[in-house]
Amino acid sequence: MSPKSNAVQQLPVIGSAQIELLERLSNAVAVSGDEREVREIVIESVKPVADDLHIDSMGNVLVTCRSKSDHPVRVMLDAHMDEVGFMIVEDEGEGIYSFEVMGGVDQRQLPGKAVIVGKDHLPGVIGTKPVHLTDGSELHSAIPAQSLRIDIGPANAGKLTPGDCGTFATRFQQSGPSLIGKALDDRLGVATLIELVKHHPANIELLASFSVQEELGLRGAKIAAVALHPDLAIAIDSTPAVDLPRPDRKENSLYNCKLDGGPAIYIADAGTLSDPRLIRFLAQTAAKYDIPYQYRQPGGGGTNAGAIHNALGGIPSVSVSVPGRYAHTAVLMARLADWENTLKLIYAALLDLTPDLLVPDRK
């Protein structure tokens, strides 16, 4: 047996148990600021293997898995628990509520969607005026978000209270090579991080942060990084695959990243220039273990790395994302293979990680 195949065999894989966990995570409701449902699944999943677990003042779940070595590298791995959604802000009577959007949801993605709201997951509808009663000229403009209401039906009138949160009602499903569901940004990251905690390599000290309020501006990760005090950090997220045909039929040079291309390694986004040592190390690790990967196109957007690398005296950081289509909408799509390769890449990188990686070298 060659050393290469031997190494590959050690890498964790995605099986039915992992997919079932992702399904639970995807179906759970955890809008920014109200992450309880996902937090409970995380705690249940990692508590048995954590050396230390605590929940901080904002609701981040911080987990430590100690190393067997004397001077291990302290690696922070972050995945955000929260998702985009809505908060009920006014009861207008007869089961109709006005709401505010939480996180970056394009208003064109709201009309005509089923939602679930409140701790009892009451079903509701974001309805629109019938097309028959709509003026032809109105059809050329987007329906403004502030004109929309959540309607839970007249019989449920009064069952929601302003402050209740909700999100799209989409249920997770698999189709061929694809994973389809809501909130895969970033439940794919949460599911990956749970696996990494369960299989934590003994050569490093693993500091997991299941963070809150990423969608409102990286708020949870900022304090998590200070509390965990790591030597380096990897943010595990999902990044948009905009690998779709352009309407003008020209070549799409703005795809960001592609489905089936493997984990997307960040070089630069609106918030972070990834640490070049970490970028290089991840690419080398992928080549060594024969794991497909891609570089995310440098550009806008951002992950919790934006908050983490600025914390303390600076934390060398990089992001690795599972490519996903249709982020911040009712239904996202990702590939099982991309998810598995993301898990393998990060695991392999942890296995091979040594303190040498952080010697000053910024060539």
């Binding site: 089961g95 109709i96 064109r108 993605q109 009309p111 005509g112 969607k113 089923a114 079903p123 509701g124 509808v125 974001i126 309805g127 629109t128 005026k129 019938p130 097309v131 028959h132 009663l133 709509t134 059809l139 050329h140 403009s141 987007a142 329906i143 004109s147 929309l148 209401r149 309607d151 839970i152 039906g153 007249p154 019989a155 449920n156 799209f168 009602a169 989409t170 499903q173 189709s175 061929g176 090579p177 694809s178 389809i180 948009p240 905009v242 779709l244 045909p245 352009r246 309407p247 003008d248 799409n252 703005l254 960001n256 289509r325 249709y326 909408t329 009712a330 239904v331 799509m333 590939r335």
Partner: protein, 354 residues
């Protein structure tokens, strides 16, 4: 006894797009079979349930039309592994991004309906709602597999499952007009308890959303003395509060206007008052937008009435009705039919004959 809630949910869990009504027709036929004397399918696919009047000889007849077809989409092409589409029936394209759909290919493929993102769009179009050419369905399969499973003209239906909104409100796709099919079915069930003086033709019509083919052909074939179109109408709700809209859960509407025979409108109003049944008069000055449009001027002319069931968010995957309104529409219909005598025509149309 039909459990109305589960029957409605069953009806709106089925496809049955205009021109391809078979899946829903099969289920309706099963329900109607024990409630009628004869069941047949017209040459173009409408379902006819016939309840014979008591006694020998010729009897006057009434046709009750509720369309069973639904709006949806159709495959027009494939590129880069995405399925291109066209709408069947009137759709506001602005509700389509982010919908889950079923593509009816060699097998049913779940898919995501989405739009080309602004990142790839001309700057001037950023923020605009999508045109039909900017919409597509992504089924998440390799292109070669899609080409094997999907062909031009395959149907695409909304995958939205029914929402039970506690205590009698239901939301889902195709409640326009399966809610009326349910009302008609309840009416047939009620009529089973009566001997009838009139022949009754219950018709689940096809292609109302695309040209009224079913209502036109069935009313021509049957030549009833009276026809009633049962369809949904606009309920008051967010964004819809003008004179075209009616309170949800406050009873059906009775259509008044040029498309309806005034004597029938007046008769139904009097009857609803007599039955103490809540209703609203729906003013439809020119046209009713229902099967009555094809029936009124058909053959030598057929006097029509229109009964409406208020429904929110019409022609979206989450239309909403209140079950009580379906029951009341059914009671009004059954009340009308069971009170008909063999000479009622003269009585109802007395003024028209002066």
């Amino acid at each position: 006894m039909i459990d109305l809630s589960s029957f409605v949910k069953e009806l709106i869990s089925l496809p049955g797009l205009s021109g391809y009504e078979d899946p829903v027709r099969t289920v309706i036929a099963e329900r109607w079979r024990p409630l009628v004397d004869e069941l047949s399918i017209s040459k173009v696919g409408s379902l006819h349930g016939f309840r014979r009047a008591k006694g020998a000889g010729k009897h006057p007849s009434i046709l009750l039309a509720a369309h069973m077809d639904a709006i949806g989409l159709m495959v027009t092409g494939m590129d880069d592994g995405l399925i291109r589409i066209v709408q069947i029936g009137g759709l506001d394209l602005r509700i389509l991004p982010g919908q889950l759909v079923n593509v009816h290919g060699q097998r049913i493929l779940p898919g995501i309906l989405q739009m080309i993102p602004d990142r790839l769009q001309e700057k001037s179009k950023a923020g605009n709602p999508p045109g039909i050419s900017e919409l597509f369905v992504d089924v998440g399969l390799p292109e070669a597999e899609i080409r094997k499973l999907v062909k031009l003209g395959d149907l695409i239906s909304f995958a939205q499952l029914p929402l039970d909104l506690n205590g009698g409100a239901i939301a889902g796709h195709s409640l326009d007009n399966r809610a009326s099919v349910a009302a008609l079915t309840l009416c047939l069930e009620e009529l089973r308890n009566y001997n009838l003086a009139w022949d009754v033709w219950a018709v689940a019509t096809i292609q109302e959303e695309e040209g009224l083919l079913g209502a036109r052909t069935s009313s021509f074939e049957i030549r009833p003395d009276i026809a009633v179109a049962i369809d949904v109408t606009f309920a008051k709700g967010p964004g819809s509060t003008d004179r075209h809209t009616f309170a949800l859960g406050k009873g059906p509407t009775i259509g008044l206007g040029a498309n309806m025979h005034p004597a029938l409108t007046a008769h139904l109003k009097n009857l609803a008052d007599e039955m103490d049944l809540p209703y609203a008069v729906e003013y439809m000055p020119k046209s009713s937008g229902t099967d009555a449009m094809a029936m009124q001027g058909n053959a030598e002319g057929i006097p029509c009435a229109v009964i409406g069931i208020p429904l929110r968010y019409m022609h979206t995957p989450l239309e909403m009705v209140v079950l009580k309104d379906i029951q009341r529409a059914s009671r009004l219909l059954a009340g009308f039919i069971t009170r008909l005598e063999s000479d009622s025509i003269d009585e109802i149309f007395v003024e028209s004959k002066i």
